[in-house]
């Protein structure tokens, strides 16, 4: 084995791209896999077994909406049986009490329920469908089950003022963990960026609220906050570094180093149906491409932080400066930081009271594959 290759810790399993929601910030690619291209139950079973043998500890079931897979209970059971810790990242639709019971009985460890806001109106606006009441029902059903519960609030300009209400939903629920994750600007979110980016004032106020809540709820609930990296001084260590900790299997079985890697021109992805997961992880061209430091340009190449953030996000570099090997332009040391600042200046001029309909372009909703 190549000595620079570490063991992957988690496998992100995008079970399907189908989803009843049409969120304007969906992290899925603009080109979605059709149902007819999805891996079979047995093919996934094989992926989980191989992942566990490779040293993977956790499987993150996501999508699209994983509940759209009729075989989800079998998949949970297969992953758990292979020795993996099973996370389900879901909108809670379509779900009823009896299916929830079966999922838990099959070995589900952690239920992550996403929220589009604290109120039904914003949830409908963002997801293009009616979801909020169902999520609150699912939250009540979860009380009766021995499973970890995380609430995942995706936050942005249009719902940031609802933070205290979101906290109230979390506090009265059985969740032991709540994530407030700012939208990240890839995929559909990139298309809707001007309507989603918060202002600096909104961001500062949210930091104050959450810091207070963390103190108050210590020992009761873990509160995690993901800030929008456009406002950061240094980039995030995207995926914990390219090909270092995580791998993602998309519905068709292609294996990617991150959710958005498909935007990078010239990368080809191998499929679990043609090659073993170990071979793909250790030696496929896509995983090798940005491993280590050889690919880095200045200022990353000689930077003290190159082992801290690994140059930031390759997809963001591609999207903003059209060079996937460039320093992530959100970095204050990047020669391209002015491109990010220009976006921030533009959104600072849009009043926070403006709705998406007031701003051009208005929402572009995620489509749904057949």
């Amino acid at each position: 084995m190549n000595s620079t290759v570490s063991t992957p810790l988690a496998l992100i399993a995008e079970l399907t791209h189908r989803c009843p929601l049409h969120c304007v910030y969906c992290s899925n690619p603009l080109e979605l896999n059709a149902r007819s291209n999805e891996l079979s139950t047995d093919a996934w079973r094989n992926v989980f077994t191989q992942a566990a043998e490779l040293g993977v500890l956790q499987a993150d079931f996501t999508g699209g909406e994983p509940l759209a897979r009729p075989d989800l209970v079998e998949l949970v059971s297969a992953a758990r049986g292979a020795g993996l810790y099973v996370n389900l990242i879901t909108s809670g639709l379509p779900l009823d009490e009896s299916r929830l019971e079966k999922l838990v009985a099959a070995g589900l460890d952690h239920f992550q329920l996403s929220f589009q806001g604290a109120r039904p109106e914003i949830a409908s606006e963002i997801s293009g469908t009616t979801t909020h009441a169902q999520k609150l029902r699912v939250l009540e059903w979860l009380r009766g089950h021995r499973v970890a519960v995380t609430l995942n609030f995706v936050i942005h300009r249009r719902n940031m003022d609802q933070l205290p209400e979101m906290l109230a939903i979390a506090e009265t629920s059985c969740a032991t963990r709540v994530e407030f994750a700012n939208v990240q600007y890839y995929g559909w979110a990139f298309a809707n960026r001007e309507n989603l980016l918060p202002t600096r004032e909104q961001l500062n106020s949210s930091l104050g609220i959450l810091k207070q809540a963390q103190e108050r709820l210590r020992g009761k609930m873990r509160i995690e906050y993901v800030v929008p990296d456009y406002y950061a001084k240094f980039p995030k260590a995207c995926m914990g570094g390219w090909g270092r900790k995580l791998m993602l299997v998309v519905p068709s079985g292609d294996v990617l180093p991150c959710h958005a890697a498909r935007v990078i021109p010239g990368l080809t992805f191998e499929n679990v149906q043609n090659r073993s997961l170990r071979q793909i992880w250790e030696s496929s061209a896509a995983f090798q491409k940005f491993r280590g430091q050889e690919w880095m340009q200045e200022p990353c190449r000689s930077c003290d932080r190159r082992e801290v953030d690994f140059g930031g996000c390759r997809c963001q570099a591609l999207l903003l400066v059209n060079d996937a090997a460039a320093t992530d332009p959100v970095c204050s040391l990047s020669p391209n930081r002015n491109k990010v600042d220009a976006v921030l200046t533009r959104v600072a001029d849009i009043p926070v009271t403006a709705t998406a309909a007031d701003v051009k372009p208005a929402w572009i909703y995620r489509s749904n594959p057949t």
């Binding site: 810790l9 500890l57 956790q58 020795g83 996370n87 460890d109 032991t176 210590r218 873990r222």
Partner: protein, 103 residues
């Protein structure tokens, strides 16, 4: 928070040790995996809702009899408190007569 000596720590829902056959041993929990070895494994294995904090301390003082018993106690209380902050532990059945408070 200092754990009540009479309470019985138990791994929270969705937090569990990996299989004893798997190496290294880790405590699996939402978005995290803590590598356990030596005393940390001995402690977590006893967070079963049966052992009281006091029993865990006594048993580890016996296993690590070359270490300063007071230090063993302090380390265990610190570790349990850390796990509680990460929401990996609940304290159940604290004796009501000594307050039973977990907060």
């Amino acid at each position: 928070m200092t754990p009540d000596l009479n309470s019985r720590p138990r791994l929270a829902p969705g937090c569990r040790l990996n299989d004893a056959k798997q190496q290294p041993r880790v405590l699996l929990m939402p978005e995290k995996a803590l590598r356990l070895m030596g005393p940390s494994l001995e402690i977590v294995e006893r967070c079963d809702g049966q052992h009281t904090v006091r029993q865990i301390i006594t048993e580890l003082q016996r296993i690590y009899d070359k270490a300063d018993p007071q230090k063993v106690e302090t380390d265990i209380l610190g570790y349990l408190s850390l796990l509680n902050d990460q929401r990996a532990l609940d304290f159940v059945d604290a004796d009501a007569s000594v307050g039973g408070s977990v907060a």
